[in-house]
Amino acid sequence: MNDAVVLEHVSKRFKRSVVSGRTTLKDAILKGQIFRMGQSNGYFEAIKDISFSIPKATVLGIIGPNGAGKSTLLRLLAGIYHPTSGQIKTTGRISALLSLGLGFHPEFSGRENIVISGLALGLSHQRIAHISEDVIRFAELEEFIDAPMRTYSSGMYMRLAFSVAVNVNPDILLVDEVLAVGDASFAKKSRARMEEFKNSGKTIILATHDLATVENWCQQALFLHGGQMYGFGDPRTVVAKYREMATGQGN
């Protein structure tokens, strides 16, 4: 088993009512749903029967138009969502840099959140003390690290998330590109760190709209559309297919 990630017929359905407003207790009683929490008649299928596997030390780029299911797929891989059917197998420690699942409590300070994230990952107090200076320095947050995180700008929040994600020494790194922004100097720094990651034989899965990155930097690509897999394999071939479809729709 040298595969870092294996997906077998994975589907994810969401309840419509979650999308279109929350069920209230009144609704539940009126509709006799009280003993069927989390069930509903209307479903939205965000991921449809996806199977693929990637070996360790692979950089996989996920591409596709908005609403294709890229973020849902990343959340499934991270274990934030659970597949409605099918199986996901991952090997090694996963670190996720997604818009959800940053694992920070807004009332706690940056430093406190670093400790809590580290402990949740199973790191010892010594190990956390050891890495936290690196985390803070890399995030360039020396000045604000003891302030509650609700006072952080979105850029500061993202920098800390990135810094924690890459400093806990994961085997698999999941990145939602929407988050991998920041000012030019930080973007450059995080690029360099990702490059280091790639070269040290880590598995990286990245959802992005930047097709050039996928062609030049990724070893594998996955093209999602409407929750379905439209292409998987060599980045150039897969990106070409996506371009073809995008222009086809444009006409």
């Binding site: 309840k15 989390g38 274990g79 409590h105 949740a120």
Partner: protein
């Protein structure tokens, strides 16, 4: 039952994380205040003074040492009240942790109750001073206090697992809980002695596990007698059943928490 054993293992594995989160929660509660912990003591103190005024001076109640009679059980009630209220929100109030795939969500009920318990622990020295000032004797039964606290912890834990889970799907739960707690406060013999009410109601009040827990606290601090082991055992059994039910409800819905926040 298997779910219960898994919970115990998770708690053991994540003990350092639990301690850290509790420490932070306690610190957070008083961040930016001048008087810190004393704010949480102010409420039972004011209530004790007001109720003493009403019961002893207005209604001419003849309970000796009424302030102690009340204060020694008002403190654990406040712990219970606060733990159930914040426990109901323990999942919906922490989307950051719940959406983090690595963070063990099942520790949140534990950390919430433990954080409220710390308030109670901090107020114990004040209670001991009050006992000395009012010259209420205390003795060996104090040694059973940790036992009763553990019992209250378990009873609350079962309730919080159930309410915390339900609250994710129906946000009405917290408002219902708020009102039920208020009613239960008056229906638990906190401000009065259970023997002072008509016998036919005493039986009904004894169906409430908190009645027995409150009774044990009062035996320890006020009557200076041993606790009622039989009643305490029954409450322990009820608590374990509630925890098993609660953990089952929690475990079967845990996977969809992130989607509902």
């Amino acid at each position: 039952m298997a779910a219960f054993i898994r919970l115990v293992k998770t708690i053991g594995k994540h003990r350092w994380l639990i301690i850290e989160v509790v420490k932070r929660e306690v610190k957070l509660r008083y961040r930016g205040t001048w008087l810190g912990f004393f704010w949480s003591l102010l409420n039972p103190l004011i209530m004790t003074v007001v109720y003493t005024l009403v019961f002893v001076y207005f209604l001419r109640s003849n309970v000796p040492n009424f302030p102690i009679f009340l204060f020694c059980v008002l403190l654990p009630w406040n712990w219970f009240n606060e733990a159930v209220m914040s426990g109901t929100d323990c999942i919906v109030g922490r989307p950051g942790f719940v959406r983090d795939a690595i963070f063990p969500t099942e520790i949140l009920p534990v950390t919430t109750i433990a954080a409220s318990m710390m308030n109670y622990v901090f107020s114990l020295p004040i209670l001991m001073i009050a006992l000395l000032v009012f010259k209420v004797p205390f003795g060996w039964s104090l040694l059973t206090l940790p036992l009763i606290m553990a019992l209250q912890f378990l009873f609350t834990l079962g309730i919080v697992f159930i309410l915390g889970t339900f609250n994710v799907f129906f946000r009405d739960v917290r408002y219902i809980v708020q009102n039920i707690l208020m009613a239960v406060f008056f229906l638990t013999p906190i401000m009065y002695d259970i023997n002072s009410i008509p016998t036919r109601f005493q039986f009904l009040l004894k169906l409430n596990p908190m009645e027995h827990i409150i009774n044990d606290y009062r035996s320890i601090f006020y009557y200076n007698t041993g606790i009622d082991w039989r009643d305490t055992g029954v409450v322990l059994l009820i608590s374990l059943v509630l925890i098993i039910l609660g953990v089952w409800a929690f475990e079967t819905h845990k996977e969809s928490f992130a989607e509902h926040l």
